[in-house]
Symmetry: C3
């Protein structure tokens, strides 16, 4: 039986007729081998949970938009993951984790230098980092929903996982393998990616939404924002539950080690999400007069995004406070972007991922128990966090504007008015999401 193989190896290590220190050394190696296996099992399972977040995003984004565009958004989610898997293996992984002078990696391209054999840790690490890269990629589809050409979205997907996400990632996380970036060199804290994953995705989404312009009918002739209702709230709610579930891979999994801190990180993550959902509901109750379900759902996500950077180093109370602030922030941010900035972000992706990602990253500078302002750490950490947040914004928003303006000027970024009115499902894919159902008032 295969399962006894590694046991035999372990036994072998111990059965050498060693004495004293040699025996100890061989026992130590055997124990290390088991812990190493545990790390691989844990990190793989965490990666699978993060993969499942793709289903969460797909359900959330299709549920919060109109039935006539549901197939299109599902295809975008499927394809940004699929394209991203290939481009990250091709170039992204190397740019992010290869040997680096501080700005980007230059080894590990096309899955080279992955270590010896199929048991190398690097394969597990690649799997885990691939699903992270794909999370950043898929955030953008929500903000660009219901009006983006499918082919242009494919091109965007190609570039984000090829180099946009990896290069910023190398600045903050390159040292997790063979790299080392200027931001981590300064002591920047972002344990599981409030900035590296979520804000980068959120600012790219902002660039996309700006370059695209609002959906037809979103703003009246008087410039007033009109609500365009999502077509399937149960699907969106399912998406949020799946995302919350997946986040238990995202945050605790970022230990990439099967050790005792997993439970602690799960607790801070969960407290923050709960506080975010409750606070967003309460704030929406006051501001919008009813406990709004979309806001509560986005509030849970806001709590999750906010705690992603600080989850390993703050107290449970601080985690709840960080989540609650995230939950309040997301309500005001959604309203501000929609009504004041008049940028049309159908699912609130910029607020949830961009704004709350920035808040979560900054919160490390306040609440981190080693270096935060409220724990006697002075303003130093907060300054570094601010620098990281700023660098993330400049890089992602800047490159995003260039990319989307470039797409607009060449193959075009937006579908025709006629197609937008009819729906992208028919226009781009020649099919309906709900054949046989009577659907009306669908514009």
């Amino acid at each position: 039986m295969k399962k006894t193989m590694s046991l035999l190896i372990l036994l072998g290590l111990l059965c050498v007729p060693a004495l004293g220190q040699e025996a100890e050394a061989s026992a130590a190696e055997a124990i290390e081998a088991v812990q190493n296996n545990l790390n691989i099992v844990w990190t793989c399972i965490a990666a699978f949970l993060v993969f499942f977040m793709q289903a969460g995003f797909a359900m959330l984004e299709s549920g919060f938009t109109r039935a006539k565009n549901a197939v299109n958004i599902l295809m975008k989610n499927l394809m940004d993951f699929s394209v991203g898997t290939l481009t990250f293996a091709l170039l992204g992984f190397g740019l992010m984790f290869g040997k680096s002078g501080g700005w980007f990696g230059t080894t590990h391209f096309m899955l080279s230098d992955m270590g010896e054999g199929v048991e190398s840790w690097n394969w597990t690490f690649l799997m885990f980092q691939t699903v992270f890269a794909a999370t950043a990629a898929t955030i953008v589809s929500g903000a660009m929903a219901e009006r983006t050409k499918f082919i242009s979205y494919l091109v965007y997907s190609f570039f984000i996982t090829l180099f946009i996400y990896p290069i910023f990632g190398s600045w903050a996380w390159g040292g997790l393998l063979d790299g080392g970036g200027w931001l981590e060199g300064m002591g920047f804290l972002d344990f599981a990616g409030s900035t590296v994953v979520h804000s980068v995705g959120g600012w790219l989404a902002l660039a996309g939404a700006i370059v695209l312009g609002p959906r037809l009918g979103k703003y009246g002739p008087d410039g007033k924002a009109k609500a365009i209702l999502g077509h399937n709230i149960p699907l969106a709610a399912l998406g949020v539950f799946i995302l919350w579930f997946g986040w238990f891979g995202f945050n605790p999994g970022s230990t990439t080690t099967g050790n005792g801190s997993i439970g602690y990180i799960a607790v801070t993550t969960n407290l923050s999400a709960a506080a975010g959902a409750i606070m967003a509901m309460l704030v929406s109750w006051v501001v919008l007069k009813k406990p709004d379900a979309s806001m509560a759902l986005n509030g849970a996500l806001a709590g999750l995004v906010s705690i992603t950077a600080p989850c390993d180093g703050v107290s449970p109370l601080a985690a709840a406070v960080i989540g609650a602030i995230g939950g309040a922030l997301v309500v005001f941010s959604v309203i501000f972007i929609d009504r004041v900035l008049k940028i049309d972000d159908p699912v609130g992706a910029v607020s949830v991922h961009g704004v709350c990602g920035a808040w979560g990253t900054l919160s490390c500078g306040l609440f981190n128990m080693d270096s935060g302002l409220f724990y006697g750490g002075g303003l130093g950490q907060l300054g570094v966090q601010l620098l990281g947040v700023g660098a993330g914004f400049i890089w992602a928003f800047g490159v995003g504007m260039v990319l989307f303006l470039g797409l607009k000027a060449t193959i075009g970024l937006r579908v025709s008015e006629e197609e937008e009115l009819k729906g992208l499902d028919i226009g781009e894919h020649g099919m309906e999401a709900y054949a046989g159902f009577q659907i009306f008032s669908n514009t």
Copy 2:
């Protein structure tokens, strides 16, 4: 790299220049550390699976009720988990697992005394117990669906996880940490919570359904029960599959140890669920003339609830028998409560969780291989099981009646007739679940 950290610790433990017994002791500590890490990884993953059951309940309950109340029930599911997370951390965890004279714990309040540092086992244990508490809480929403005021449901959620669930839990499970309750002192068996979680939730649901009264139109002027159809059976079926999946965290996870009995418990759990689904289908085929899908789905859940108490100590054959009896029981119980008692429980929560929870708990007294009646154990165990089932009913139903009658007399428990007819989604949350779809005959 982070992942080598714990390995270095392990190596350190072994590299002291020890001889003989000292070397053995250090190897033993290192091995214990790895097993401890495995326990934490396993228990956390099980907790995440149990968390995901929230999505299952949300889909099941919204699918089995009407479209006009779908947003409302999703919000209740989201909020009972979110509120429960905070109140369980505040007080519930301490009441359940703190040092106790047998009736309730008095330490660990507000996450105090959690052990040293982030690697303490107690954080993992808190995470696992939080999702259990939230499971008990969310059972109630189904029985009270389609007519309960949202604010009153929030108040209920606050109290169940604050003290109702924890105090009963301390009687049966307090000894899992620092407590010790009178029921466990008597040898009460409830491995994963047929009574502690499911019956407590089920009897609270019964109290809620009684105090609320039936939905408008549920009983005709002649007192005859009318079927009010669920609006989305695929969603409900998805919910059941998710719950079954999550139950593999619920039952095998209750080992809270990464050891060999996990596979055995998974097998008994799965056999019972399968037998429950088949038996409920067969019984419904005879009684209702067709193999009813709602009954089969509830039969799977009945099998799962029934095996939750005895899963670790019965034979696979007994597990199938316990599940089959649960599956038959749920059909008769649903019909009896609906048609004879005339209590309106829209999703059958009282039958699935209350009645089958009681059956499962009693079945330990019959089938447990150490102490059950059929294994030569006499009537002693069965008597203790009966006492525990009775205590659970008196506590949960009693406190539930006080709570719901109190809510009814103060802020009110039920929405207005007008709102109930129009749907709680518009009334309580100002939104529709399926904007754009033509939905009719919806009352």
Copy 3:
């Protein structure tokens, strides 16, 4: 506390006052015990993921068919798993893994000889193999959707897990426990079941679809195929994401050992799925003029099925190539079966599981790094693979034809024309999937 139990055992093993080799031996046993626990934890979690694929199939198949048959297909999915759980325990497991002369096992019937106590590895192995058997079973429901009598489907479910799947399985995988089959004796490679699970299911599905004949209205009087649209693409897409997620249990879990190769197998699996989705989309874009969502979704599954046999022994580049070929193949196969062979397979199950399963199995003979043609292994491995593919086809298609023709001649295989037009939900189960929704053009 339960969690310290196994630690005490470990400590006990080390605390004997042993010296030299004795101490080493006890340390080795303790380390082996932890690794064994890790294997059980990992294999159980993988089994749970594979179980969750049942939800994926249920959502995929109901989404790709019509609303009027949704309840029926969900019931079939629930019941083939439930029935399969019991029959596999009864007979299947023994036929597949019991002591064998090469053709079928003869021990382990009715869960006998499962080893000592609840900690025996065999329980975990049973759990893992049960969900594999149920995967093969549930593939068939998609190809036979929208016209099969419910009772006949139950009989089919009974037999596939009782002996059809197990006997072929014993030829290829019996040696994983106490058996040993003629195919594995020849060096047949099928790591996680491209043939054993998927092709066997696919060829049974083919037999079922042929014996049933096409749905009413599927082929016009001129013999031209008409598209019958699926009613809920978001549900189908959710199904594919769930299946992809579950496949991370299916392939990496087939190590049944918590070791380092898990990460590698996850990477090859993921690359193949991504390449399959992209290629199917591209081919459909060329052939059908639009990037078809159904094809892209089936392409992801095609990639997953194709890599299932070779996932542990091919390079990442080969994995992507294998998936891409699978993705192209599935488009042509779906069109060929639909338009040329005029066999009505509503969800494309024969193409995805049968055809791509065969391709994946053959691909081992080309790309396996030890014995494949492109790695200097000659034609030997490819010949064995071809033999295994052929044996799978003859066994599964042959027995399937006998079974389905037998059912047709006795209790009948197909519902009446009237029932088919009205829908099987009303006809077989007396209920609607979407009560209250206006659904039209539903035939």
